[in-house]
Symmetry: C2
Subunit: 189 residues, 2 copies
DNA sequence: CTTCAGAGCGTACGATCGTACGCATGCCGA
DNA sequence: TCGGCATGCGTACGATCGTACGCTCTGAAG
């Protein structure tokens, strides 16, 4: 062999780069179109690395989505931990919805793929449950538990609709929805 | 060949059975795990039928999801066309959310797979946009357009959370959320 | 009864897949 | 300096895939 061949001991970032490449590929091509070979090419690592660093494709996917969930939870934390009163919490939720549905559809796609897996496999369902639990903890600092659950569902739905719909809700409408869902015993019209 | 071989002209339900088998398979195994062969086995048709009746796997999937979307739209219609006043509309929406997230996760899984495709491919996005448009038409018979959009998003989010969460919202909580989101200018607490 | 057009499918091809295994490589102790 | 060993990867195997093509068979026309 004339090229580099084995490198001996090295590079703890190999795993990270593989995981990142996996998430990128899933976002761009869908889980149906990822393979060891395509991930390896994308990450710039040899095919053999795949089964060396990860027990198999399934294990790699679990780890990749685990990483994704961690990042999302961190994002939720960063938005929802800060506000100290109810009005600011509503603002933060509004911001979060717009952040999640903005720009490319990376977040949307990865979330959808995760939910799809969650609907069928308990391991993935744990990821999403933990995610929902964490965000509810934040919301419950400002709202009662029932309201928190309703608001959590609204965040989900508005994020999705904003991303899939030609004319997404503008900020004022989002804010209005957040206000409505977090307000009890309203006088009906 | 000793078995049946070709059957000559026949059976217009071949296509239907293939499409149904496709949806069943996707619901059970995920889009990543469907193939011409597995669909054929499931539908009880020969492999050759696949490329005979459909231009290819992609075309089959589009048609299958088209059929799914039609059925869902019909379900939305059946729930949302009936009510004649605002209160009954709220009840109907509540019923719809519970219907969609009940029992098996067939609806959840297929919807997630469709949204995932919609996020990446315009053809599928049209399907979902049409679906959203149709449901909004119903909702707008009872609520103003902005409210209809917010309610539509809430339906989405609550359906998902009910299906994925260990203790789904009970009916009273769902109804409360529907009431809140459809009530304007509430007095804040 | 004979013919034949076209509906429908059996089958085979090339591509791609996941995975395992043996070998190349560089580091460390002596 | 040199041996041994753990790290890391090149490669090959068997399975599975989508698809195209030519053959079989049916029903209708005559």
């Amino acid at each position: 062999m004339l090229s580099v061949m084995a490198t001996g001991h090295t590079d703890p970032r190999r795993r990270e780069r593989i995981i990142d490449a996996t998430l990128d590929l899933i976002a761009e091509e869908g889980i149906a179109n990822v393979s060891h070979r395509r991930i390896a090419t994308r990450a710039g690592v040899p095919l053999g690395s795949m089964t060396y660093h990860f027990g198999g494709l399934e294990e790699l996917l679990r780890e990749a989505f685990g990483r994704f969930a961690e990042r999302i939870v961190a994002l939720f934390d960063s938005y929802l931990a800060a506000p100290n009163d109810r009005e600011r919490a509503r603002d933060a939720v509004t911001d979060l919805i717009h952040e999640l549905s903005e720009d490319d559809q990376r977040y949307l796609v990865l979330t959808q793929e995760l939910y799809t897996l969650a609907a069928r496999q308990p391991a993935y369902r744990e990821l999403t449950k933990e995610w929902m639990r964490r965000s509810r903890v934040h919301l419950e600092r400002h709202f009662d538990p029932d309201t928190a659950r309703q608001l959590d569902a609204l965040i989900e739905g508005m994020t999705l609709h904003r991303a899939l719909t030609p004319e997404p809700h503008d900020r004022a409408l989002t804010r209005e929805a957040v206000t409505r869902i977090t307000t009890r015993d309203p006088a009906q019209r």
